[in-house]
Subunit: 313 residues, 2 copies
Amino acid sequence: MTTRPTILDVAERSGVSKSTVSNVIRGGPHVSAEVQQRVLDAVRELGYRPNGLARQLVLQRTSTIGVVVGDLANPFYGELVKLLERYANELGYTTIASNTDGHPEREAARIEALLEQRVAGIALLQFSGNAELLDELLVDGVPLALVGSTDERVDCVGVDETRGLALAVRHLATLGHRRIAYVTSRLVDARTDAARHASFVRACAEEGCAESPLEGATAAAAANDIVAIELIEQLEREGRRVPGDVSVVGFDGIDAAGLARIGLTTVAQPREELAAAGIRLLLERVGAGPAAPPRTILLEPKLVVRSSTRREP
Amino acid sequence: MTTRPTILDVAERSGVSKSTVSNVIRGGPHVSAEVQQRVLDAVRELGYRPNGLARQLVLQRTSTIGVVVGDLANPFYGELVKLLERYANELGYTTIASNTDGHPEREAARIEALLEQRVAGIALLQFSGNAELLDELLVDGVPLALVGSTDERVDCVGVDETRGLALAVRHLATLGHRRIAYVTSRLVDARTDAARHASFVRACAEEGCAESPLEGATAAAAANDIVAIELIEQLEREGRRVPGDVSVVGFDGIDAAGLARIGLTTVAQPREELAAAGIRLLLERVGAGPAAPPRTILLEPKLVVRSSTRREP
DNA sequence: GTGAAAGCGCTAACAT
DNA sequence: ATGTTAGCGCTTTCAC
């Protein structure tokens, strides 16, 4: 046998029809114990493995969900993808993760590929914000969930960015800082960056602080933890100590931030909840169809104070 | 139209047969420019998207490769998965990444699911070493590639662990260290851990060093960078400075190791080459069939000296 | 309780 | 150059 056994081979070997084999494999009804045993034996002897492709084709639905992420090497998203897979698995779904490296064209291409595989739905992790693409997906009725960013038109779960940055800026203001820089990098997706920067500006206004260039600032809020950690590197290379000369606060709450030698004060996102809600939203959408109104879930971020921030002398 | 258009709808709309549609879609031969245009128009107007499931079913082969990884949240593997996907894409393949959390049962289950999806092959990233499982896969003729670990029975690409630990131990010995600890953690897969520990022991013998418990050691070699970084944390929490009181060297070469505040001396693995060779090996196996003898590619690790190691006073 | 038959959407000979 | 036809492996009525 050079080719894989099919359901027909199992049927032949156990002396029943393929419908009966199908019934026992899927735990269907109406199978006598004796026949069941015969079929199971044949399955084992033949090393039969059901063809998921054929099954999904005839069922007209798959239990695969696509996960598209900008940068898998960013541990925050690596962990999110991992959690998304775990929760999906618990509900009987598998995931296909696709990395876009932050390129909108790649993003569109990966989504297209996912759709050709007829995934049940797609979780978008660092969505580029490409409105045209989103429109197409929406008119196509593709079940979608934005995780970690928001858009009124689709289901999404994210952290309250406004509140997160308010937490960060207030913390800095309480420590006496008044001139605060906002720092980002190319690796932060535009959408997230825009949201955080806007929230930063608002928070500054509320707390009586001013956004300043890094050179003149006594503190800095970074777009995320990776940026924050790189910022600390850069600052210290230039001879400005953290937190001695400048305080730094990050966003996300990656593990590395908690290392004693890093000690990054940061606004932590609840990763487990983000993933759990993302999957829940997505699968509810799969069930409800495109007509149901989109929902937004806003989770509470949490300020974790460590040693990268201190009172302005 | 509540259901997705099929190739038949396109055929009808453009007034040709479905084979012709198929021909233009796959860039097949024998299509007049005029018909081609008509078909393309219909595709666009209908928003037709080929059903990859159906195509793969009839083609009897898929262009998906499965990637099973122990811990996606470990940035070394996150990046590896990302690179694997990139190289696979370049060759016209897509990837499905599955996380096992290091559980052998989950590993077997995820592989089974991948096989039911009829993936063309599987890249195993932190393989548990489950010999029974490996046997089954081998007799089934599943194209396999071990990335980052080795086994004579299958294709694999890894770094020369023996050489890597020799580099680490020699470095430490040159600095005057004689009592060296080997440190690991539960999160390191057993297979990798065993290989590295064995290499460590051999290197110690060659360099005239002795493996010592951490308490009495002046230096430590960690199973990987994550362990090394955690070790530094732990050591300093206990009041032993790094590298003042004890030198630490890691393995892998993750980005975090290069941060000034971490400054971890480590044995770096060439990630790009690992990924590129992994995909190449796997796809060549897909082409060559199970009969071809397995190949092992051993890449050279590189010692990167930073500030976590120094001369023993 | 079990089997026969009709597809799911597509590709690939083989006709025309 | 285009159409016809026979499946790929499976699920699912509907008979028996």
